[in-house]
């Protein structure tokens, strides 16, 4: 037990990256953390507000508030379950402290338990967003007494148990089954991708069911049905909260304990076999092939070489690939939405677009699509916002290379730009081609391309500015860099920027009743202007900032 507490404390402290930082940086961190906290509280409050109305209505109509609570808790568990996959995989399998931990004289289940607990704490941030609003709004709407709030705290604190036990038990069994496979890191990448895809589809299905006259949130809850049933202790919590049943609460706590016991047994049996050999990588020990030697002999420009290396770094790292591919979230949502909309009776979207393709409306549609996709999708590719941090201690070697320090930033942006542009813009490009085929002026194609590239460049440099301001260069595990508060802030900033660009492009034109082709012109000019301005600022700031960084 003592060992377990000691290990857990150490792991959590390492994960939070608390250490001797200089003062300015600490302030930045607190500021970032503060902003994130305010954002979360604001979101929770907003959800609570709308939910309280919903519960009020249900209760007033003599409905079953109890079912509402159960659904809310199931949503929280589901969120922890889905998002827990990458967390568990990185904590249990790709942390670089594995070698050290395995050499300690403690039982393997203690190590697993400490890592589980670390995930458990991280999971609160998710549960807070997804389940806390339900608990609060139910209490408020029914005017609950002290007993309810005490029960609610207990329920909330134990909420991540079952989903995380599922995640870690599945992960341990799968990794055990594949323990002979080389490059198991790849497996962890695939696992994360699958879970994110699942989350995406689920969110989308729920939201789209909510379209029409029912409220989104309510529909989302009711869509859960069978998925929520995999968490067997939800009814106990529902009884505890809905009817203030002490037995329900005890059963809930007991079921959590049983799940933890299950986890410990599985960990004891398979965790060692599943984690040992995680560091193995495929190697081929042989002299270089003639092709390699020939390629080595080709002289390239320094900048070209730099871009190539930055790209290779991304391609060879499952973690970085995963970060880049998250960008597909927006386009995937869009495609799913399109498909769902087309299945409705009134929804021949493509046909309607084709009809308006020859008119002025096409400019508006394509401009809006390009701006939104570019800014929103590129914002979800977090790589530029951790690019400097990913250099880690290697930054001091990079700084000794005979190039301007800002060239490093340029190379990073150039390396990511083609993928970033295509992932965020393949839909606007396809739409443009479709419209041109149906009568829109072909001049729209270069406009859409320039607008998309400029927007992507602007987003990359804006994200990079955030990383330059407060980088995290002292990590052991590259994936821990992704937990920097600044990444989320920079994403929000890019989305906000996208909204501003859209507003500037469309609102004045609409208010003044000007020809809508003007919106396209404004969108183009603003995107290009932002790209040039942000690039220049990021490069000059980066040059100065990189000189100071150790």
């Amino acid at each position: 037990m003592r060992n377990y507490l000691l290990l857990t404390k150490t792991l959590i402290l390492c994960g939070l990256d608390i250490g001797p930082h200089d003062k300015g940086k600490l302030l930045d961190r607190n500021l970032m953390a503060g902003i994130s906290l305010v954002a979360i509280v604001a979101i929770v409050a907003e959800i609570v507000k709308s939910l309280t109305g919903v519960v009020g209505a249900i209760v007033a109509a003599g409905g079953d508030g109890h079912a509402f609570v159960e659904q809310g808790l199931a949503v929280g568990m589901l969120a922890a379950f889905v998002m827990g996959v990458p967390m568990v995989l990185s904590s249990f399998y790709v942390s670089s402290d594995t070698t050290t931990l395995l050499s300690l004289p403690v039982p393997i289940s203690t190590i697993a338990a400490a890592r589980f607990t670390r995930c458990f704490f991280y999971a609160y941030s998710l549960v807070m967003l997804f389940a806390l609003p339900t608990l609060i709004s139910f209490g408020l709407a029914t005017g609950a007494g002290v007993a309810y709030w005490v029960f609610a705290v207990v329920v909330f604190l134990l909420l991540p148990t079952v989903p995380l036990v599922y995640d870690s038990v599945i992960a341990m069994l799968v990794m055990r089954a594949f323990h002979r496979m080389h490059n198991k890191r790849l497996l962890t990448g695939i696992g994360t991708a699958v879970s994110l895809a699942f989350a995406l589809v689920w969110v989308f299905v729920s939201v789209s069911k909510g379209q029409g006259d029912t409220m989104g949130m309510e529909a989302m809850l009711s869509s859960l049905g069978p998925v929520g049933a995999i968490f067997p202790n939800v009814p106990f919590a529902g009884a505890a909260l809905g009817q203030l049943s002490v037995t329900g609460l005890l059963l809930y706590v007991a079921s959590c304990a049983a799940f933890v016991a299950l986890f410990l047994v599985v960990a004891k049996l398979v965790y060692y076999e599943s984690v040992v050999g995680m560091t193995e990588m495929t190697t081929h020990n042989a002299a270089l092939s003639g092709k390699d030697v020939a390629s080595f002999g080709r002289v390239r420009s320094p900048m070209g070489a730099y871009v190539r290396v930055e790209r290779a770094k991304i391609l060879h790292s499952p973690f970085q690939m995963q970060v880049v591919l998250t960008e597909l979230m927006w386009p995937a949502m869009f495609v799913i939405g399109l498909v769902m909309a087309s299945t409705r009776p009134e929804g021949d979207v493509l046909g309607r677009v084709a009809q308006s393709a020859s008119g002025e409306q096409a400019f508006v549609i394509l401009t809006a699509l390009t701006l939104c996709m570019t800014f929103f999708a590129a914002a979800t590719n977090l790589l530029p916002s951790i690019a400097i941090s990913l250099e880690g201690t290697g930054l001091s070697l990079v700084k000794t290379l005979p190039m301007r320090l800002s060239d490093n930033l340029r190379a990073k942006v150039l390396a990511i730009l083609p993928a970033d542009y295509l992932l965020s813009n393949f839909i606007p490009l396809a739409a443009t081609a479709y419209c041109i085929a149906n009568g829109t002026s072909p001049a729209m194609l270069p406009v859409v391309v320039v607008m998309g590239i400029a927007g992507t460049v602007a987003v990359c440099y804006l994200q990079m500015l955030f990383d330059l301001k407060a980088p995290n260069l002292k990590w052991l595990d590259p994936s821990s860099v992704g937990r920097k508060a600044g990444t989320i802030i920079s994403m929000l900033a890019c989305i906000a920027l996208g909204l501003v660009v859209c507003a500037v492009s469309f609102v004045p034109v609409m208010l003044l009743g000007l020809p809508s082709v003007l919106s396209t012109a404004i969108g183009l000019v603003v995107s290009v202007g932002l790209a040039i301005g942000l690039r220049a600022f990021a490069l000059s700031y980066g040059e100065r900032r990189l000189r100071q960084l150790p």
Binding site: K23, N285, F296, G297, S301, R308, V309, T393, L397
Partner: protein
């Protein structure tokens, strides 16, 4: 040649100077050892010479080029091997070497000469197609050493280069350092292992707590402490702070 003039550095938030008024010339045609216990300030000094850390005071010239005023030209003067070889882990070794060759515009003929000779000398020709992350510490060290030497820099700066190398490779590296110095160019390397310094160095600079304690040849140092072993001398200098070994030795 490296000219270090009155260089000081305190890390942010620290009251103590990690490097305190260091002045010294690393001459051409010689191997210079930079010696001191762990935490003495060797790496900090080297990072200032290589432009990854800015000095609070003083200036550093590499072959006459100021590292702060004309960093890019100054950086072309040296090849640098950092103390931690864990950089560019995601790249294959050959990709890293290719990158360094392109960055310093090494011509094709020179590349093939290098590839034909150096990997075999360091015995890592067979692992160049692997990711650096899959190499052992010593192998990583060798890849980084190769990357630093591929553009034939006039100045070599190596931070603890022998750490992690097997005897044969350490021997080869020392031989390469001697050849380089013999061709009239300069080699600076740091170490806390006295035996390495003893056999190799033409000049040594001893520091501790950021302060320069001795500068000169090993023979002079031994002559001033007759009858004492090198280890004892070293302990006497570094423990004694600004002991009797400072001063006129330069």
């Amino acid at each position: 040649m490296i000219e270090i003039k009155g260089v000081s550095k305190a890390y942010a938030g620290s009251r103590h100077k990690a490097v305190d008024n260091l002045s010294w010339i690393v001459p051409d045609g010689a191997i210079t050892g930079f010696i001191g216990p762990n935490g003495a300030g060797k790496s900090t000094s080297i990072h200032m010479m290589t432009g990854s850390l800015e000095p609070d005071a003083g200036s550093i010239l590499l072959n006459g080029v100021d590292i702060v005023k004309d960093p890019i030209e100054a950086k072309r003067q040296f090849g640098f091997v950092p103390d931690v070889p864990d950089v560019f882990l995601n790249l294959k070794a050959i990709e890293y070497l290719n990158f360094m060759a392109d960055l310093y515009a090494v011509p094709t003929a020179e590349r093939s000469r290098f590839l034909g000779e150096v990997p075999a000398r360091l015995e890592i020709a067979d692992v160049l197609d692997n990711q650096i992350a899959a190499l052992s510490h010593g192998m990583r060290q060798k890849v980084i050493i190769m990357g630093a030497l591929i553009h034939r820099p006039p100045i070599w700066i190596l931070d603890e280069p022998m750490a992690g190398l097997d005897p044969k490779s350490a021997f080869e590296l020392k031989k390469m350092m001697r050849e380089h110095a013999a061709s009239g160019r300069s080699v600076l390397f740091s170490t806390h292992v006295l035996e390495v310094a003893e056999k190799l160095c033409d000049q040594i600079c001893v520091i501790n707590h950021g302060r320069q304690l001795y500068l000169g040849t090993l023979e002079q140092l031994k002559a001033r402490h007759p009858g004492m072993s090198l280890e004892d001398i070293f302990l006497a200098i570094t423990e004694g702070g600004t002991g009797d070994a400072t001063g006129d030795a330069r």
